[in-house]
Amino acid sequence: MLKLNKRDTLLFVIVTAMVLLAPFLLNPFPQGSSMAQMFNAGYPDLMQRFVIFGILVIGFNILFGLTGYLSFGHAAFLGIGSYAAVWMFKLLSMNIIPALILSMIVAGIFSLVIGYVSLRRSGIYFSILTLAFAQMSYNLAYSVLGNPSSSYNLTNGETGLQLALNDPRILDGAAAANGALPVTKLFGLAMRDSYNLNVGGWLFTFNVGYYVAGILMLISFYISIRIFRSPFGMMLRAVKSNQQRMNYTGLNTKPYTLAAFVISGMYAGLAGGLLSSMDPLAGAERMHWTASGEIVIMAILGGVGTLIGPIVGAGFNEYFKNILSKINDGVLHQWLSFLPDGLENFIVGILHYFVGKGWHLTLGLLFMMVIIFLPGGLVEGGQRLAKMFKRKKTDDGSDSNNTPAE
């Protein structure tokens, strides 16, 4: 199907089903129960983040997973995409299609320039070059290009770029005359519209923005599968395993790596544009280098160089960030109330540093654990588990087959 082999088709179908049914899958607990408040993730904002960061990390994986070039400046493209999309909303129309197209084009141009320069070096130098470019973009967006009093205020600095009532909006300027800020939409469908479905105690929310982003993620995922299986993807893997040998055979690897860099930059631009489409506000902090670090963390958590890894990583990171930051001391006390008081207070006192505002610490530790013990990320962890069970089964099978023969 769709020119994919059997395994990839299966994978794609599973991912498609998960994306389409996410509002059900992510809301396993009935509305209003205490478990729902903690573990339900089926609300639009979070679901949108799942798929948008999924797109971002899928793109990052095309560069890092296939070529092995570790870019530490990918958040710059995300930020650039966000700004481009908000400008489109301000100048042209609230329809998200021109905004997404522009954000991909602008991010593509930036990644072409930055990639052309950075790819002249490899290894750690490449990482530091991309880091330098990203910090440069961040500083520019934060200070010079964001100075409201100057004539070239592109980013609006610390406040962030946002919509205003007196924006031109050439195509649908008249529609916004009622004094309220217009909302982003895809033709007639507003991004923030949702359809609520009540089944028994459960409440399922089907959000327009989520499905738009989800379908775009499926398209991105499909393209990434095709890239992974194409001769182009093979060439990129060859670059990863031994670039020198490729050069000795007389092949110029630069166009291939540059193409991979631009593709992943455009993925990041699309993700940035989608972030702005869901909430038309773009700030410079999206471009800070720690944000780039977070992209790397998501990719590593999931599993670099695998197809499904980026989606797993992005989802895992966002979900746990969400849950961990919701747990506070009160919740911990409630959970541990079966313990004797002294022990309960002691354990809560320790866990206090790992939840709530301390979620960064937990994710940092988890990230280190994954790098130390599971270089292939959660996907490799899953494969190892699967193998372990499989081996056990075959062992059992062979044993039972062998004994009668003896």
């Binding site: 530091i128 070059l129 330098a132 470019f133 910090q135 020198q244 610490l361």
Partner: protein, 343 residues
């Protein structure tokens, strides 16, 4: 002319910080071949050593003085720092006043221990792994250390004043024949510059004139041969890691009065110090020092109003711009050796 002199002086203190951090980074890279993204966190831990010592010295006993009342009419409480009861009021007060310089003594064992644990506990296991893994695991460690500090000290910057004697500024211009107030420079920045010069000189002297340093230099040049000669080079490299951690930590201790320590100061300095190392040349100690001072001064010049009028915002990007140009034109950096990190 006085403007130029002023900018050079302004660049020196930031340049000193860059040079010290970059020196430590290069020491680690040159000896162990590890790219340490947690080095900024070591700088931050150093600064928080100063904060901690200040807090320890300010532990007080509270007594109630019934003869005086505060503005609400309650008896006034008097806080007497324990140090003052131990050493007498004058001596005690001056010990508290000098808490930042004293923190140097306090920080050295702590930083050495942190460095030792870091190398033996974590980085040792990453020598054989690709550079990308080393970057990532130390990046994770940096996040963890930063969050631990944030959990214990809060997210706000903590003012850590310099000793009273160094708090003012000093009119440099009058000594050189310029009019008064043309070149004003805070005393503490002078101290910082002098301190970093001493540390840098000490590190170089240690490497150049001691047997230990000689072995380490030999190990940096050819680790395998030194190992074959029956020298336990790993042990010496571990000690060098601890020394590099001390250098970063001391840079942080003394920087605390210039910029109140906060939990993300390490990350802020880290990117810049990497750029410094790359500009200086990976693995070159003099290159790191030179590039540190050069970029610090360059940044100071770029933030002059006359320059900013021509290129707005140049002060924000000058360092990165220079780094990009240098990496592209001189891939080995200013003083990099052949064959270091060239895949």
């Amino acid at each position: 002319m006085d403007q130029i002199l002023l900018q050079i002086l302004n660049g020196l203190d930031k340049g000193s910080a860059y040079a010290l951090i970059a020196l430590g980074l290069t020491l680690i890279f040159g000896t162990l071949g590890v790219v340490n993204f947690a080095h900024g966190a070591l700088f931050m831990i150093g600064a928080f050593c100063a904060v901690t010592l200040q807090r320890i010295l300010n532990i007080s006993t509270v007594t109630i003085d019934p003869t005086k009342t505060d503005f609400l009419g309650n008896p006034a409480t008097i806080k007497t720092p324990v140090v003052e009861t131990w050493f007498g009021p004058e001596m005690g007060a001056s010990i508290i006043d000098w808490s930042v310089p004293l923190a140097i003594l306090f920080a050295i064992p702590i930083m050495a221990a942190v460095g030792f644990i870091m190398e033996r506990g974590l980085i040792k296991h990453f020598y054989k792994r690709p550079h990308a893994d080393q970057i990532l695991v130390t990046f994770g460690l940096a996040i963890v250390l930063q969050e631990v500090i944030k959990a214990f000290y809060g997210a706000n910057p903590i003012p850590t004043p310099a000793p009273e004697a160094f708090r003012g500024s000093f009119d440099f211009g009058t000594y050189l024949g310029y009019e008064a107030n043309a070149i004003i420079y805070p005393y503490w920045r002078m101290v910082y510059f002098a301190f970093s010069a001493v540390i840098i000189a000490a590190v170089f002297a240690f490497l150049q004139f001691t047997t230990f340093g000689m072995v380490v230099r030999a190990g940096m040049a050819d680790r395998e041969t030194v190992g074959l000669l029956g020298i336990n080079i790993d042990k010496r490299f571990t000690i060098m890691f601890a020394i590099a951690a001390c250098v970063a930590g001391l840079a942080g201790v003394m920087y605390a009065p210039i910029n109140s320590p906060n939990y993300h100061m390490g990350m802020d300095f880290l990117v810049l110090s990497f750029v410094v190392v790359v500009v200086g040349g990976m693995g070159s100690l003099p290159g790191a020092v030179l590039a540190g001072f050069m970029l610090g001064i360059l940044e100071a010049f770029a933030s002059m109003n006359q320059v900013k009028a021509i290129f707005p915002g140049i002060d924000q990007i000058i360092i990165y711009l220079v780094a990009i140009i240098i990496i592209l034109t001189r891939p080995r950096g200013l003083m990099g050796r052949r064959g270091v990190m060239e895949e």
